[in-house]
Amino acid sequence: MDPNKEIENNQETQELIDAYLLGKLDATALTDFNERLSIFPKFRAMVEEQRLLFKSVEEYNLKSSLDEYHSEIKDEPEKKWLSPGWLALAASFIVLIGIASWAIFNNGNSPQKVFAANFKPDPGLPTSMGTSSEYEFYYGMVNYKRKEYAEAISRWEPIYGANPENDTLVYFLGVANLANGNARQAEKYLKMANEKTESAFYEDAKYYLALSLLKEHKIEEAIETLSNSSSPANTSLLKQLKDL
């Protein structure tokens, strides 16, 4: 780059200034850049203008995020964590975990094995934009496909709040939660998906719902979920569950 060249206000310049503001220029480019800054007041003004715009976009989006952060603060009475009640609860949890792991390790055929052998997250949908309001959904889908399930869930949950009836959304929220290790949440969403008998995801929703229930050791309920199903995957899973 020739620092003595006058700078035009075009896409190239805008991208160069962005690289500078984002700290992405290498040492040589940075030296050139600073030289230009010192030589051309007009360039300096352009950089300042872009810096301000950058700041404004950031602040605008931060402010828009705050209410969402706020909605996650639960209105709970203050807890005294070390009160005898809490200690008792903690103690009973430890006992419970002990009993549960004893039960699991003493059970030769394990639901875990069946789960591990059968659980593979749905590959997801191709990201093609329809209407602009679907951006967030597809943005989440990109996260989902990259196995960034927590991110996908946090993008989809607000959309779910506004569209609780969307079968695609509840189905993927369910699978993402299951992939993220949260079978209880998965069960909640997949049960909703399982009620949408017209949905393209109906059979798949049953499959993942059964796996969520299996993960929660609700084997009877998992069997019941699959019992009216005819898809090969569901039939095969049903057989494995019955053998447990």
């Binding site: 896409q11 700041k55 404004s56 950031e58 989006n61 402010k63 995020s65 951006y135 869930i153 993220n180």
Partner: protein, 195 residues
């Protein structure tokens, strides 16, 4: 999943937290936000405020804290210091509000309100301009808003933006340029706008 991000933040060295705040890392910002509200709320309640007022003053303080960290105007040595700083700003802002005309005649129990004024350097001129640009962003199309958000707020590469918006990289570049030019024009036609 949330648990993981909490722990991530707790265990991070302080410098990395600052770096994450500067990069607008959503998990870090959210955690910081959620951690400190209760204390501010208690303070505002104690000093004749209500829930909504606590929320407003807290959000204002949060933005001020974030801005000062980004501009390197706040150098702290620990995570606790950030929390303390955020609380100080909120407290200061609330007291300022309380002492304003509307509250002049209100009696309150806690008369001895001593506090150290935190350093909130605010550049009035710049703030005014930022406000004007933010108003223009509001009027930008949804697609442009998202592009600008992904590029400047989430600081994604064009490659990632292209993937998220289901377009190719060159189109993402062009679109971002056009959106930005549009935004610039919108702010310039406003009298006394930037420039």
């Amino acid at each position: 999943m949330r648990k993981i991000s909490n722990e991530k933040i707790k265990d991070l060295p302080f410098k990395e937290t600052v770096a994450l705040i500067k990069k607008n890392d959503a998990a870090t910002l959210k955690q910081l936000y959620k951690t400190n509200f209760a204390k501010v709320k208690r303070y505002v309640y104690k000093n004749s405020g209500d829930e909504q007022q606590a929320k407003d003053v807290y959000q204002e303080a949060f933005v001020a804290m974030w801005r000062n960290i980004k501009d390197d105007k706040f150098s702290a040595e620990s995570e606790t210091a950030i929390n303390g700083y955020l609380f100080q700003i909120a407290k200061y802002k609330w007291l300022d509000h309380v002492r304003s005309a509307r509250y002049k005649n209100t009696t309150f129990i806690n008369r001895e309100l001593e506090y150290d004024e935190p350093e909130i350097e605010e550049n009035e001129m710049q703030n005014r301009k930022i406000k004007i640009i933010m108003n223009s962003i509001d009027n930008l199309g949804e697609r442009c808003q998202l592009l600008m958000k992904l590029f400047y707020f989430e600081q994604k590469s064009f490659k990632e933006i292209a993937e998220i918006m289901a377009m190719d990289e060159a189109s993402a570049r062009n679109a971002k340029y056009r959106c930005q030019e549009q935004l610039k024009k919108m702010t310039q036609i406003i009298p006394n706008g930037p420039k």
